[in-house]
Amino acid sequence: MRSFRHKTSILLFLLPAVVIFIVYYLYPVGFLVYTSFMKWDSITPMEYVGWANYRRLAEDGVFHLALRNTLLWGLAGVFLHIPMAMLVAMILSRKIAGWKWFRSIFFMPNLISTLALAMLWQFIYNGEFGLLNEVLRLVGLESWQRNWLGNLDTAFPALIAHWIFYIGYYMVIFMAHISTIDPSLYESSQIDGAGIFQQERHITLPLMKPAVAVAVLLVLTDTLKNFEAPFLLTNGGPANQTMVMSLHIYNRMVSYQYGYADTLALMLVAIGAFMVIAVRMLFREKEERGG
């Protein structure tokens, strides 16, 4: 009886969260699954088309490009963005001269809206009067000048480059985690003759693993949702070379192709779920694996 009451109390307290989860997550995902089998313009009644939307995925070259770019952006986040943030966090955590000033400088771009940054970088990259081309001219590299956002080879790297250096957000996460590491570990390693690099490699990096797991998860989910920068800087061009999943979904939506847009959105949800599971498995604690 006591156990029943106890369990009932728990269930009742969980009920609002569960209801919210069902209404705002499970129901929409279920709706996506349902409408992915429909042809629907959101105004007229839905028309059942079976697997047609999924067959269209296989044939849709823009989807393939968008998927590739979205995954590449995620990989750039994991293998470039986060390591840079880790490096700067480790350096600033050593409390070098002016470290507080540097911390503010690195974090400041994260306070600026994506719109403002996009406009700024549009003018940096512009092929007619952009700052980058002007700098190249000044240093005698006119041959390197190009229309950075309108060139098939440079548009996507340029798009990633405008974001990759704004490491402030993850730098702060890593610095907060490093500050929780027991200083006595560094002191005792110093007594044993360990240098700075050895300390960072054998103490800081292993103990940062939980923060890295969180950062990897956040950067992957952020890049999956990425919309503003591609929309503002390139609108997916030139020739869809910078198309990403969220922008492709948006384009289908404003073309009244909600059935296909929902199919694409479902793919995005599935990719996101796969990434979460993969990251959790990758960063699973040794204690759990040991049993």
């Binding site: 109390s9 307290f13 105004i43 009067f129 098939l152 030139p238 020739a239 073309s255």
Partner: protein, 440 residues
């Protein structure tokens, strides 16, 4: 440990509060998209009367050439009908974003009380058939009918109802810089596409870009230029027949050639970027509408000439033609509240009244298609006067591509255009992409 009675009571009321807040949040939406249902937007005017508050969503705000006159019209309406109705502007500055937002609002049933949309025989049907627009017929009194051109009104009629009123006549000539032309030794605006290439070469030799256009956003100016080329080859009715005509591929080749004479940032350039080339006199020609006149600085206005469509060899279009068609439509959301319905219709009537239509024309150059009004030529700025003169002389008028095709084609056009310009697509494949998009 077993919870005490006091703790159980606190837990119970916490749970009830959480559920109550949750249910209240979920019940917030209503047919008009505002919390609280149909009574939302009702404000107290003077005395004890309640004035309805109507939302007019528009992109004619901020730096737009019509922002001032639109605000004045709204203020005048509120002054006249303030005891019963008050219109509030919902500003959505960007044209493309505004259109996308209205489409989303239509899909989600959250249209503003009064709004506009671009006329397109394909896309407008979505609005008309949605059942969400107010039928204006019951509100069209004799004065309103007298002031309206019945032929044009047909564009807003569906199954015996008048669901929208055409606003402006979208005329999009070639604006060219006469001074830059003189510098390049060009005496007149080209009358053939070969002549256009020759003029572009002459300008290029002087370090001047011939055409201000880009593939960014919806590639607006390039799309208009493409419309001219297609129509000059296939004739003024070519766009009414679908996208199968060989003129589309042939025109794509000419358009691609003309991109050689556009600024270096043309691929990916947004409207602001390529328009600035023309306004700052780095480019000699731009295809756009009279709304751009308000953007021309004073020192540029005296240099602007108005050009018309060149002819294509063996083409069915005539030299001197102009793109001219219905631009924006104004509509109101269907309302259950008769007062909201009545004043939504009254606002549309007020907005399109000849006096206001005339003021809009004089301040922005926009010609109102649906409304009968006369203008003394001495009141009109020289550029608008020249546009109207060319329109009167035009042997043909053309449609514009975006106005005749679906949203899917509008999105496909800039992507395929950048691929065409960058040699990723042949002209035939470009036309095929547009056809395929049209069938989606």
């Amino acid at each position: 440990m077993k919870p005490t009675g006091k703790k159980r009571v606190i837990a119970f009321f916490t749970l009830v509060l959480a559920l109550a807040l949750f249910l209240q949040a979920c019940s917030g939406s209503s047919g008009n998209g505002k919390p609280g249902g149909e009574d939302a937007g009702t404000a107290t005017a003077g005395g004890n009367q309640k004035a309805v508050e109507l939302t007019f969503a528009t992109h004619w705000v901020g730096e737009d050439g019509k922002a001032g006159i639109v605000q004045k019209i709204v203020d005048d309406f509120n002054a006249k009908y303030g005891e019963n109705a008050r219109v509030v502007i919902d500003a959505i500055p960007d044209d493309d974003v505004y259109q996308d937002k209205m489409k989303t609002n239509l899909a989600t049933g959250s249209l503003p009380d009064i709004f506009t949309f671009y006329y397109n025989p394909v896309e407008s049907l979505r609005y008309y058939s949605s059942g969400k627009l107010l039928d204006l017929v019951p509100y069209m009194n004799e004065e309103w009918k007298r002031n309206t051109n019945p032929d044009t009104l047909a564009a807003g009629q569906y199954e015996g109802q008048t669901l929208a009123v055409p606003l402006d006549q979208m005329i999009t000539p070639f604006f060219y810089n006469k001074e830059l032309f003189e510098q390049a030794g060009i005496s007149s605006f080209p009358e053939t596409w070969d002549g256009m290439i020759e003029a572009a070469e002459a300008l290029k030799s002087r370090g001047i870009h011939a055409l201000a256009m880009g593939t960014g956003e919806n590639a607006w100016s390039a799309m208009l230029l493409y419309s001219y080329i297609v129509s000059s080859i296939g004739g003024p009715d070519v766009m009414k027949k679908g996208l199968d005509d060989p003129a589309y591929a042939e025109a794509a080749q000419i358009l691609k050639n003309l991109f050689n004479y556009a600024p270096n940032d043309a691929v990916g350039a947004t409207y602001q970027q390529y328009a600035s080339h023309f306004i700052n006199e780095r480019a000699a020609i731009i295809v756009n509408g009279p709304w751009m006149i308000s953007e021309f600085p004073e020192e540029l206005r005296g240099k602007i000439g108005v050009g018309t469509s060149p002819a294509a060899p063996g083409g069915k279009g005539k030299q001197g033609a102009l793109i001219s068609g219905i631009g924006w439509m104004m509509a109101a959301k269907k309302q259950d509240d008769p007062l909201r319905a009545e004043y939504s219709a009254r606002f549309i009537e007020f907005f399109t009244h000849p006096d206001n239509a005339k003021q809009i024309f004089l301040e922005s150059g926009e010609v109102f298609e649906s409304t009968n009004y006369t203008v003394d030529e001495s009141e009109v700025d020289p550029i608008s006067r020249e546009i109207l003169g060319k329109l009167r002389e035009a042997g043909q008028t053309y449609d514009y591509f975006e106005g005749m095709t679906s949203s899917a084609v509008k999105i496909e056009f800039p992507a395929s255009l950048s691929a065409l310009v960058l040699d990723q697509l042949t002209p035939e494949k470009f036309a095929e992409n547009l056809r395929n998009a049209n069938m989606q």
